[in-house]
Each structure stands twice: as structure tokens, then as C-alpha cells.
């Protein structure tokens, strides 16, 4: 039989189509492991005289994803039991669910969670796929919801006092070394850090290509799970999912380099771009810029902004971006006919990104 267990609401742009990315299912797999372990802990609390939990404690009990409901995206997770009636241990699964949600609520409020530290360590994997701005909401009453964000996860993992924290991350760098003996490679980051990563058969060709491109400044994007110490220092990759060569005009890489500029960079005059705002722009490009269009060349402006430029045949296009107002002054000029279009693009608005994409697509299409 099956019974409703938990209906968390996934909030964020990735979930707006009422679908759940497969990547997130890994997190719910970790949640199931946590539920089982917390349920055992609850059992021991209820049976202080029992030295150990019965061997088949969770046998016949599983969490399943039954369906995805509307409302951003709400995965309906049910508790499946092998028989026709709930087993005696079902109650501990329900207590575990409440204990986990309480721990999240405590961390959300800045309080110390009441779950033991060894159980809090499961939060290292549950919620790891959440990106900035995303959250999971757990309904706790008619009007109340507990919100699990990457920040709340970080606090819970800090309470767990584990040596190594893990995080899903995408890093840009150059492959400087391959070590065939221990099947690893080294990713050299633009800031000089050297990060070791395991080398698996499926990535062998991509890593070999990347190491050959090292001298020509060929960058790659490595996506996977990284390990960090409690101070947040990167230790290395625990696992690698994807390796892809980067476009020489990669926006994030270029903006990261421009963020290193200091005040006075333009022979004593230029304001430096604010690194956090430049990171916002990189994210905005990542999310909104049409992947089928050529990437822009990017330059700093004397005022601390960024100017993006494209060339499409006779058309020269610039977008002068004020990072503080998130407004872009768009100008397209035909060098032959001198036809000129000027407008302001609000880069905080998706509809304005669409306007920009459409304008560039027209020039790109006319050029082809």
C-alpha cells in the first residue's frame, strides 16, 4: 500500500514548468537515507532499553516519487509499504519527517538544530543540487511553510561538524597535468589555485584535449562535486560529471578576469567593476542570453561598467552596461547605411533580454 508522506514545493526558475530536473532526484535519494536513519534514532529514543534497532527495521518501507503536481513543482512523495496495512515502524518514518523539518526550521531561525550531529551530516547531500535563489518549501500548517535554501543547508552542515563539506560546482580552468598513475588531473584556476580531480574513462579524451590546449590558453568547464574544508577552502573534486571546452569569449571567464581590475586601471582614471555585480551579470547572461547567438566581446568601461560588443556584417552593436542600475544602453549602427537604433535594456527583466536576443537574431540571420 502507499500513503502520502511529504509534498515539498520546489521554488526557482528551473521548476516553473512544473517539472523536476533529474539532478534533484539525487537529493531526494539522500533524503530517503536520512529519513531511515532519523527513524532509527526515533525508535531508539522510544525504546531506550533496546540495545539496537531490529535488523529489518526499514524492510518493506520505501519512499517513492508518485507524481509532480503544479505550483512551481511539487513532487508528491509517498511511503510505500510491502503489505496491505502500515507496518509498526511507519510511525517512526513520520516522526523522522517531522524531526527533519524541525531541524530545517531551527536552522532557518538561526537556532541550533536538535538532531544529532551524525544525522545532520545527511544535509551535505540533501539540497546539494539547489542553486542560488532556489528553495524547497515544507508545509507545516495551514499558513506556515519552512523554507530550505542553500544558506540554510550550509548552516545545518556547519552544525554537523563534519571535516569535509561537498558542493556541486562548475569551475573554469586549464588542465595543466594528467597523472596516469593515480588516474587524476589538475585543473589550474585563473587565480593560480591548482585543483585535483579524479580522471575516469569517459572523460579521458576531453582531458587529453584540454591538456594539449593548455599552452594556447584553452579553458574548460569542469562540473562536478567539490570538497571544501570547514573554512570553505576548496580541497578538490570528489567526482566529475562533465568536462567541456570553453568558447574563447566565455562570458563568465571574461567577467571574472575584469573583476580583478583595480581602481585607476585606465591610466589612473578607471573605476573598477564591482566583483559581485559582475558575477550577477555573468549569471544573467547564463540564464537569459540565447545560446545560439555569438558571444559578445566584453570590455570594462571607465565608469566601472561593462561594454558588450558584437559585429554582424556591416552592423556594429554595443551594450554599455551600468552594473549598479542593471541598465544597458543598446546601440546598433550600420557602418554602411548609418542606420542607427538606440534603446535602453533593463537587464533585470527577462522580457528585455528577449528583446535583445530578438534584435541580435535579426542581424545574425541577415548576415548568414
Amino acid at each position: 500500500m502507499r500513503q502520502a508522506f511529504i509534498n515539498p514545493r520546489l521554488v526557482g526558475r528551473r521548476f516553473e514548468e512544473h517539472t523536476v530536473p533529474l539532478e534533484i532526484l539525487k537529493d531526494f535519494s539522500a533524503l530517503e537515507e536520512m529519513v531511515v536513519e532519523v527513524a532509527k534514532w526515533k525508535f531508539r529514543q522510544a525504546h531506550p532499553d533496546s540495545k539496537r534497532v531490529q535488523r529489518n527495521f526499514s524492510q518493506g518501507l520505501e519512499l517513492h516519487l508518485a507524481q509532480v503536481d503544479d505550483g512551481s513543482a511539487i513532487p508528491a512523495i509517498v511511503l510505500m509499504t510491502a503489505g496491505l496495512v502500515p507496518t509498526a515502524n511507519t510511525q517512526y518514518f513520520e516522526l523522522a519527517r517531522e524531526a527533519i523539518i524541525t531541524a530545517i526550521e531551527q536552522a532557518e531561525c538561526g537556532d541550533a538544530p536538535t538532531l544529532p550531529k551524525h544525522l545532520l551530516s545527511y544535509f551535505d547531500r540533501f539540497g546539494r543540487s539547489l542553486r542560488a535563489g532556489e528553495s524547497i518549501e515544507f508545509q507545516t500548517g495551514e499558513q506556515r511553510a519552512v523554507t530550505y535554501t542553500p544558506g540554510v543547508r550550509k548552516r545545518l552542515v556547519e552544525f554537523a561538524e563534519i571535516e569535509t563539506l561537498t558542493e556541486e560546482l562548475a569551475l573554469r580552468g586549464r588542465v595543466s597535468t594528467i597523472n596516469q598513475n593515480n588516474r587524476s588531473f589538475v585543473l589550474a584556476l585563473p587565480d593560480g589555485r591548482q585543483i585535483a580531480a579524479p580522471l575516469t574513462d569517459q572523460h579521458w579524451a576531453a582531458v587529453l584535449e584540454a591538456v594539449q590546449a593548455y599552452r594556447q590558453g584553452g579553458y574548460v568547464l569542469v562540473q562536478g562535486v567539490v570538497e571544501k574544508d570547514r573554512q570553505g577552502h576548496l580541497r578538490g573534486f570528489e567526482s566529475v560529471e562533465h568536462i567541456s571546452p570553453l568558447d574563447p569569449l566565455d562570458v563568465t571567464l571574461r567577467l571574472s578576469a575584469l573583476s580583478e581590475l583595480k581602481a585607476g586601471w585606465l591610466d589612473g582614471k578607471g573605476h573598477a567593476p564591482d566583483p559581485e555585480r559582475a558575477q550577477w551579470l555573468a549569471q544573467a547572461f547564463e540564464e537569459n542570453f540565447d545560446a545560439g547567438l555569438p558571444l559578445p566581446h566584453l570590455y570594462p568601461t571607465a565608469e566601472g561598467g561593462i561594454q558588450a560588443e558584437w559585429t554582424f556584417g556591416d552592423w556594429e552593436v554595443s551594450l554599455e552596461i551600468d552594473l549598479s542600475t542593471q541598465l544597458g544602453a543598446y546601440q546598433a549602427l550600420n557602418l554602411v547605411t548609418q542606420i542607427q537604433h538606440d534603446e535602453v535594456i533593463a537587464l533585470s527583466e527577462r522580457s528585455d533580454w528577449q528583446r535583445l536576443n530578438t534584435a541580435l537574431q535579426q542581424m545574425d540571420g541577415a548576415q548568414a
Binding site: 574563447p248 586601471w265 571607465a302 561594454q307 559585429t311 556594429e316 557602418l335 542607427q340
Partner: protein, 123 residues
């Protein structure tokens, strides 16, 4: 100065990406009071112009050039101000608003890049 006189412009390294120069290299910054610094190519060679600029703590990836006539066609007077050194000149953008300055900068950059680097740093 004649219509074919080249006006030499230093290009900051941050204004070059993958060999492409931004139009900003040919647009005065807000602190320039509408004047863009160039050197009179009849009086100084591109290499010497670059050496003087970099010797005085300026950064330059190289020297591009536009002709006097090209500036004149865009309504940009060339001021032979001779300050802070004798061959110094200024392109006067002060009569134009921001959009018009960017438009003229695009046209000048296009002419200059088509003409090619007059001198390029080896770094």
C-alpha cells in the same frame, strides 16, 4: 596637418579582447571633458609615441590610427593643442551627446582597425 595626416591613438590592453578593439578606445571618458587624446603622426612615429606613453606609466597594447579627413567627415575638430607635449592633439567630441559619441567611436574604430596596428606591444 593634411587630410591624410594620421592621428595616433594608444589602446589600453583592457580595451582589446581576442584581437578585437572596443569602440571605447575612440571615445572620450567622462573625465576627458569631451576631448580624446591623439598624437600627430606627421610629427611622431607610432613606436616613439607608444614608448613615450608607456614610459610615463601609461599602459598600451599598441597604436591605432585614424586620418584627419575621417575625423573631419564625422564633425570632429582636431585641436592641435600641443599640451602636455608638442605633438599632442585632441579630437573634440564636446558638441555631441553620449549616443552620438558612441556612434562616431564605432566608425573611427572601424577605420582604425581596417588600417591595422601602427605599432603593437610585444608583451
Amino acid at each position: 596637418m593634411t587630410p591624410t595626416t594620421l592621428l595616433l591613438r594608444q589602446v589600453h590592453p583592457s580595451f582589446v579582447q581576442a584581437g578585437r578593439v572596443t569602440s571605447q578606445a575612440f571615445r572620450p571618458t567622462p573625465k576627458d571633458q569631451g576631448h580624446l587624446s591623439v598624437d600627430n603622426g606627421d610629427l611622431v612615429q607610432a613606436q616613439a609615441s607608444w614608448q613615450r606613453h608607456t614610459a610615463s606609466a601609461g599602459q598600451s597594447a599598441g597604436v591605432l590610427a585614424v586620418a584627419w579627413a575621417e575625423c573631419d567627415q564625422l564633425g570632429l575638430p582636431v585641436l592641435e593643442d600641443g599640451h602636455p607635449y608638442p605633438e599632442h592633439c585632441s579630437l573634440d567630441f564636446s558638441a555631441h551627446n553620449h549616443n552620438a559619441r558612441e556612434q562616431k567611436a564605432k566608425l573611427l574604430r572601424n577605420k582604425a582597425q581596417a588600417r591595422g596596428w601602427q605599432w603593437q606591444s610585444q608583451q
